[in-house]
């Protein structure tokens, strides 16, 4: 079974970073309505297996396109741009420096049990994230867009996401 059809085509969407969320959601639901195992529960094992594989594929496609960062990475891979995720050597030293400072800040706030500090940092990161996402909509707009710049933005967003997760974990730990 060849499930390699691209996710945008699966949902009938144009290959761009900006997508209509409503349309994505509706297309996802329409697809699941066709392939989901609940629709094929009365069939034989081989048929049920195929239905599960398709439903798995549709879920993965939806998850990828719904999350902006995953969507951006997926677009880069479709366009043949290496985001250099494994080798983060491509990052500007100033940016890496800034990241280290952030990390130390989170660490400090966690150890000090400072909830409001953590929340404040979370808000600042969220703001930053929004700005970078806006940049992506141009960088990953149409095929003529700027893949290298987009790759850089994606790497930055990945750092931010990591920090956000760290902050959330710290907040959760403080709550328990």
């Amino acid at each position: 079974m060849d499930l390699q059809q691209d996710y945008f085509a699966l949902f009938g969407l144009p290959q761009t970073f900006d997508i209509d969320r409503e349309q994505l959601e509706q297309a996802y639901r329409d697809c699941q309505a066709q392939v989901h195992p609940d629709r094929h529960a009365h069939r034989n094992d081989a048929e049920k297996r195929v239905s599960m594989q398709w439903a798995t594929h549709v879920n993965e496609a939806y998850r990828t396109l719904r999350k902006p960062l995953l969507r951006a990475r997926y677009l880069l891979s479709l366009r043949g741009v290496d985001a250099g995720i494994e080798t983060n050597t491509a990052m500007a030293p100033a940016f890496l420096m800034e990241q280290m400072e952030w990390r130390e800040g989170v660490e400090e706030a966690r150890e000090g049990g400072d909830v409001s500090d953590l929340e404040h940092m979370r808000q600042r990161l969220d703001l930053h994230e929004r700005e970078l996402r806006q940049a992506l909509s141009g960088q990953l707009g149409d095929t003529a867009a700027d893949g290298e710049a987009a790759a850089d933005t994606v790497r930055r967003l990945m750092f931010i996401e990591k920090l956000q997760i760290e902050i959330d974990d710290a907040l959760e730990a403080l709550e328990d």
């Binding site: 079974m1 699966l10 009938g12 297309a27 639901r29 329409d30 697809c31 699941q32 309505a33 066709q34 392939v35 989901h36 195992p37 609940d38 629709r39 094929h40 529960a41 009365h42 069939r43 034989n44 094992d45 081989a46 048929e47 297996r49 195929v50 239905s51 599960m52 398709w54 439903a55 798995t56 879920n59 993965e60 939806y62 998850r63 959330d168 959760e172 709550e175 328990d176």
Partner: protein, 622 residues
């Protein structure tokens, strides 16, 4: 004989016969069975008109097991052989269960899942649950007037893989074809949502006898999308009883008590607790076997006081579920209360305060899970009508991962992922010439393996010797629509494949179940045997017909060799159908099933592709 009923091997569905299917709420305290009759979901009652079957099983010496009220009658006089709340032990080892020392059973510490030693032999929680399910199956077959095509069995949303697998095993052992394991809060959402035509974000708060679930769902145009779920698989009304029980001991100064007096006091405690949902105070009176008299009054105020921590314990999972769904409290449109324990007033109040709105208690919290399961069973069995076009999108409650260096967990499938889902990760060897790799599958949120549940261990062998770090071992997880996991490991780099498929099973091994079912057949009467043979023949005829049709429609999907093998398997089945040898029939059915497996898969794929293409064409027209 339903035990030997085969799964439908046909490649098409027989048109428009109503297929008997049920939903079963296998509860810690009470179990129910429901079905859709004339388009309406109803609970099926026992001869006395009661829907709820107490989840109690009594094993008398030598005799057949008693289930329900008949078993309950022995709770006090024979606690050791009368098993209550067995759901708490499903998929659990002896070290997983809290307060185990105060339980009146003779436990056996067996690998994977504990067992009970009874006067009637050693029983696993799976077998005990199967007794309950069997009683419900028989009730349903008598009431619906025929054998069941299948059942949807509900499980707490927060059940892990071992608990789910154990539940499925129990159902199979009870002779049920499991159409789906369905999460209890999701089942409740279906019943509630369809009845009230709800749209928007709802929280389902389900506190039963032994388990607590919170699920956040988005209901929109016939789609029930679970956004997150959380809970505590060992928190329920039982724990409130236990608090009252301890209070009684404390106030009366009678401790320690015998097992049978403990059961008596637990009963008193539960009655007092339930009474406090309507009265301001509850009397607790009784005489122990020692002659000690108990005469106490429990006020609502004291009850609230001694159980406050339990109520609060449910709110932490609620908070986590909201966070995982990325929602705030005021985005929740309604809070649906499910489970008998949500009748407690202080609990309703606490939940109301948390959400800033009164919880919805206008449905029967005992029945709603079974009713929702029945509706889903009806649809899954293929009785769907045009207005029953809903779709459930559920999630996996707990992350799945693998043990890595230093006893740490590498998460592969994160919690609250929509199922079915598949994920893969690559690993490598760390020694030169290493030919085997140990794989340890775990479930849970903690970083340390020791703090998570171990689901399965296996070894991938036959890795070609290479230098350290050169092998590429791909471990794949597939979680199906029941929330059950299968793991595959494969060595990729040298083009040599070694593959292991593991279905973690803490219940019974597949062949153990097959063995039990087979011995059932051997002991069956001649009559039943003849019937079973007839059923197999009918099955064979149906399958031949279906394959014939499929070949006519899509024979082009096959090459000559495949076609020849299918033809041979069909000929073998035709011969078997003409005879009356059950074993030969089963072999021939299996044989044709095997040969047509790939064909069926290809046809299915083709039909799904054309369905997907079709809906896109429709969309363009809009």
């Amino acid at each position: 004989m339903a035990l030997l009923q085969l799964q439908e091997p046909g490649m098409s569905t027989a048109p428009h016969e109503h297929r008997l299917a049920v939903g079963i709420d296998l509860g810690t305290t009470n179990s129910l069975v429901a079905s859709v009759r004339n388009g309406i979901a109803v609970c099926l009652n026992d001869a006395e008109g009661r829907a709820m079957l107490p989840s109690v099983v009594h094993y008398p010496r030598g005799g057949a097991a008693l289930v329900g009220r008949a078993a309950q009658a022995h709770q006090v006089d024979d606690p050791r052989n009368t098993l209550v709340s067995v759901k708490r032990f499903m998929g659990r080892g002896i070290h997983d269960v809290t307060h185990i020392e105060s339980m009146p059973y003779d436990f056996l510490d067996t690998e994977g899942m504990l067992r009970f030693r009874t006067v009637n032999g050693v029983k696993s929680p799976v077998e005990v649950s199967a007794e309950i399910l069997k009683a419900l199956r028989e009730r349903a077959e008598a009431s619906l007037g025929g054998p069941l095509v299948g059942a949807v069995i509900t499980v707490p949303a927060y059940f892990d893989d071992a608990q789910r697998q154990a539940t499925k095993d129990a159902a199979r052992l009870a002779g049920l074809n499991v159409l789906r394991l369905l999460n209890e809060p999701t089942a409740a959402a279906v019943a509630y949502g369809l009845e009230n035509a709800s749209e928007g974000v709802y929280a389902i708060y389900d506190l039963g006898g032994g388990t607590f679930d919170i699920s956040i769902l988005k209901l929109s145009r016939g789609v029930f999308e679970v956004m997150s779920t959380n809970g505590d698989a060992s928190l329920g009304g039982d724990d409130f009883d236990h608090r009252v029980f301890c209070w009684i001991l404390d106030q009366s100064g009678v401790a320690p008590v015998s097992d049978s007096d403990a059961r008596r006091l637990e009963g008193l405690a539960r009655r007092a607790k339930e009474l406090l949902s309507i009265e301001e105070e509850a009397p607790i009176r009784g005489t122990l076997s020692t002659g000690d008299e108990i005469d106490l009054t429990l006020t609502r105020e004291t009850f609230v006081d001694i159980t406050r921590t339990l109520v609060n314990k449910t709110l932490a999972p609620v908070r986590k579920a909201l966070r995982d769904a990325d929602l705030s409290v005021d985005e929740v449109k309604g809070v649906v209360m499910v489970g008998g324990a949500t009748r407690m007033l202080h609990l309703q109040q606490a939940v109301g305060e948390f959400f800033g709105q009164s919880p919805l208690t206008n449905l029967d919290p005992d029945k709603v899970v079974a009713l929702g399961a029945a509706m889903q069973a009806n649809v899954l069995a293929g009785n769907r009508t045009a207005d029953e076009d809903w779709l459930l999108l559920d999630v996996i409650p707990l992350s799945l991962g693998l043990e890595t260096m230093g006893g740490l967990v590498e998460k592969i499938v994160p919690r609250n992922s929509t199922i079915p889902i598949a994920k893969a990760q690559e690993f490598t060897t760390f020694k030169d010439g290493q030919t085997a790799m140990a794989i340890h599958v775990v479930q849970g949120e903690r970083e340390l393996v020791s703090a998570c549940r171990s689901l399965a261990r296996f070894e991938l062998r036959g890795i070609p010797p290479m230098t350290a770090g050169a092998a590429r071992i791909r471990v794949s997880f597939q979680v199906d629509a029941d929330g059950l996991l299968a793991v595959t490991a494969r060595e990729m780099s040298a083009g040599v494949e070694a593959q292991v498929v593991v279905k973690p099973s803490y219940g019974l091994a597949d062949d153990e179940i097959a063995e039990m079912l087979k011995s059932g057949f051997e002991h069956a009467s001649d009559d039943a045997k003849a019937r079973a043979v007839r059923e197999l023949q009918v099955e064979g005829e149906r399958m031949l017909e279906a394959v014939q049709q499929a070949l006519k429609a899509d024979g082009a999907l096959l090459d000559d060799e495949e076609r020849a093998r299918i033809d041979a398997a069909m000929a073998a089945l035709r011969t078997a159908v003409a005879g009356d040898d059950a074993k030969a029939l089963r072999q021939a059915l299996d044989g044709l099933g095997r040969e047509t497996d790939g064909f069926a898969a290809r046809r299915m794929d083709k039909s799904i592709r054309s369905a997907l293409a079709g809906h896109k064409i429709n969309e363009l027209k809009v």
